[in-house]
Amino acid sequence: MKCEKILEMFSEYLDHQLDKNDIEEFENHMNECEKCQSEFSKFEKMIIKLKSIKDFESPTDLKNKIMQKVTLEENKKLSAKIIIFKKLSLFAAALSVFFIGYNYYNQKIISKYGDEPALTSFDTYQSEMPNSRSKGISDESVINIYKDGIEVNINASDIENTKKIIESFTENILFYEESSNYLEMVVTKNEFLELNKELELNNIKISNYDANIQKIDEIISSGEISESDLILFKVSISNN
């Protein structure tokens, strides 16, 4: 075997990567060739020398610098969120004014509280948003809101208390009327899971919870929205 071929096997021999036949071939050649023996010995010594190279210490303030950047990044995310919600709340306020006015002329709908006022407000909301599902609400950030929303029914013995829990849990309520048992809010999937936990602690049940989560997961896995996007929840609270 040529010496060049043996040189190509140096690393694999040293790192125990050769198969039995190659090892035999390699060792047979080594026994016969002094040049390769001497080269391999130098090669081996060099590798041993390399192992003695020590890592450098990183600068002492590096960790702080990294944490500062991470915190800054987190704050930016938060402020982008706040800007969105501020703009959304303004929009929601305008929407409720419109809705109250609308109801004033539609006594039947108001008296027949239930799905219809919800759909009315939702349809208006959608028509205000071109491209329906996705809209750049501010220059700072773009959020996606699942177009059709998720309808959630909450069974609670104490409606007022339930509303308070939801209210305290999220600021992201798009539509809310004091006298109504219906509200609309936008939250991420994780926030929705947290809300459910909170409600459960108070013995309040989201009646179709599992089916809703499944639906949300399907929407997310279809790629329509991502885990961090907001989902529109149309919530109605009823006595059980």
């Binding site: 140096f10 390769c36 210490e57 991470v70």
Partner: protein, 203 residues
Amino acid sequence: MDYEIVEKILKGEINAFELIIDKYEKMIYNLAYRMFNNEADAEDITQEVFLKIYRNIEKCEGKQSIKTWAYTITYNTCIDEIRKRKGKTNVSLDNSIEGDDNSYIFELASNEPTPENTLISKEYFKEIEDAVNKLSEVNKTLIYLRDIKGLSYNEISEIMSINIGTVKSKLNRARLALKKMFWFFSQFGTNFQKLRLNIYNIK
């Protein structure tokens, strides 16, 4: 275990990220240092890598260790930065180009003819570490990960996105090149910008 820390970060405990930094800062900093041969760049790259880790932390959910992943991000970040500086996206960073007679052309790092460099005479050049620094980025990474950090062929294959066969052949050539360069520099000094050496010539 890393996944326990990652879980905390995902729950919003930003401070838990400090544990990730404690564990991987030195590792990331050192690979970056090897690639750039200076502290300032190593520091910048380390910060950039940790931000990338933080932004993509959900990808580590359930992982026992994020070591290989962190190395991959570091390697790619270094390579991207070096390519950006060289002004091309497809420039070869594996600068041992095979000649027609099995010789390799080495474009040496830090080839500015500064007074400091002229001081690196054959008497001065005795450290294997200096020879490593002269290798191409790809060769340097191979030597660093395998011989200095003791990573397996599999891990290197994952980090550098090359198959095992290529790791084997490239690593061997990198080692032979290092051996040849070390010998050459100790004989003739380091004031060369470009060398053509036959790494298989053992006469």
